[in-house]
Amino acid sequence: MVNDVSMSVDFAGIRLKNPLNTASGTFGSAQQFENFYDVSLLGAVTLKGASAVPWEGNPQPRMAEVFGGMLNSVGLTNPGVRGLVAESGAYLAGLASKGTAVICQVAGHSVEEYKEALVLFEELAPWASAFELNISCPNIAKGGAAMGSTPEGAFEVVNACRPLTKRPLIVKMGPVRVQEIARSCVDAGANALSLINTISAMSIDINTHKSRVARPTAGFSGPAIHPIAVRMAWEVCNAVDVPVCGIGGITCGADAAEFLLVGCKAVSIGTENFVDPAAAVRILEELKDWARSQGVSDINELIGAFEC
């Protein structure tokens, strides 16, 4: 009997039991998935973004299915940091105690709001392993992609938040100018980057002449965007030295493997969580099978193994 493949990775100083993470906004507060599998099997979970005060998010309709994926116009509906901690803090503390890194995502409409939310998390979430700054949500009018789509805007948010915690800061990046923005984030003190967020997209009802979601544009996710996301993750891995979490259209171990090969230390499962609620553990097993098939004893041997 050969020893099994070691799946553990180091992600910005956090030891993850494996590279499997979940994309914010597709995994609730993690406990929604306990009916489907033991969530503590995952290396990390990234929670739905939370802001200093509760946000109602966008009006209906907030979802439209399109070829190869879906558009969402949720707009970061959340009960606020206090609400999240009240609802899920005990569960998340337990999850963290089982060795799964809990990553809290921080949302804001302005630099001040990001700071306020982070300060609250810093105080109320001792079980959090890291914080992820969402500067790329395409569905809110202020903050999100409105701030994080230029290197200067990204720098400003990260730089303002950096002094507020000693825990690792991850920046969730959108699918724009990724190398420039990645460098800005790292220059401002980001410990890791995760990408891509959804891609701004449109779907129009050709009979009513109106958007199929409440706003003209919405965030596009799903398998359709995978080849784009892998390319962007590769570009970012080449541009900076901090760890990168690859996100975008992962439906199976092979999809995840591409992100690892281009250099990502972790991968997040997103929309596939909706399609197959047990996706993340399935993909973990598929990744292990792939690592075995490649004859390695440690998944780290495959990270960045892309030959070009």
Partner: protein, 263 residues
């Protein structure tokens, strides 16, 4: 406050899939876990095979089940590519589903007489409800509103369960010419004996029924339908605006108090 879903992922296998009425099909599938755990008004999210470019599950509520035999039945209206593709799921087709999802209908204690109003394929979750109500000795008046006589569904089951069946058709081809809301209005006016009103159907219909019930000071439960990606509380796309804030249709609902919904 986040409501956690009772949904699990279960394998299922098609037993029957055939036309039930004009543009409405009936599917019965084997899924013992679901048959034994699902309550009336709950729903499940079915994976529809055959088109990998169409990634999301489709949500359906159920009409009839047999926990001992382990099957569940529902009816579906052919409205889009997904439901049309479902007609190709021949008996034996294997798939999986996520359920039971949502809260289901609530039967208040000491309910003796219920008014149940269904429009179109909204009749489906009310069939299971009527079965439960009549088994508990509740007397039911059931109003079905259909577009036309060829779209009337589950009349036999509803009458078999012992409910009084009233029918309206939009085109007047059978029953009252007009909407179910006309019949429900008359019934509410002629009797003060209803303890509860249940309704499922198009949003304007449910809104009207809820207003009638409010007028009559009778509690009303409405089953809302919203576009959803997951069906178990993770995507938060399926919000319902209520007097108590935005609620999640798939976990806080789909059944809401008619008084609560902001239409």
């Amino acid at each position: 406050m986040t409501t956690l879903s009772s949904a699990h992922k279960y394998a299922c296998s098609v037993l029957v899939n055939e036309p039930l009425a004009q543009d409405i099909w009936r599917m019965r599938f084997s899924c013992p876990e679901l048959a034994q755990s699902m309550r009336p008004g709950q729903f499940f999210n079915l994976a529809v095979p055959g088109d990998p470019s169409n990634i999301l599950r489709l949500p359906f509520s159920w009409s009839v089940s047999d926990p001992r035999e382990g099957w569940v039945e529902f009816a579906y209206l052919l409205v889009g590519e997904g439901t049309r593709r479902m007609t190709t799921m021949i008996p034996g087709t294997a798939s999986d589903l996520v359920g039971p999802a949502g809260n289901g209908w609530y039967i208040p204690q000491n309910t003796q007489h219920a008014l149940v109003v269904g429009g179109g394929s909204g009749v489906v979750p009310l069939v299971a409800l009527v079965h439960e109500l009549t088994q508990h000795g509740v007397s039911c008046d059931f109003v079905e509103g259909a577009a036309t006589q060829n779209r009337v569904i589950y009349e036999d089951a509803i009458t078999h369960y012992g409910a009084h069946f009233y029918l309206s058709t939009d085109d007047g081809s059978r029953g009252v010419h007009g909407f179910s809301t006309q019949i429900s209005q008359d019934l509410l006016a002629s009797s003060a004996a209803y303890d509860v009103v249940y309704t499922c159907g198009p949003s304007p219909m449910m809104r009207a029924i809820a207003a009638q019930a409010h007028e009559a000071r009778i509690p009303c439960q409405v089953s809302m339908e919203k576009l959803m990606a997951c069906g178990f509380g993770a995507c938060t796309t399926c919000l319902v605006d209520t007097k108590n804030g935005r609620k999640t249709c798939c976990t806080d609902g789909p059944v809401f108090d008619g008084e609560e919904v902001l239409w």
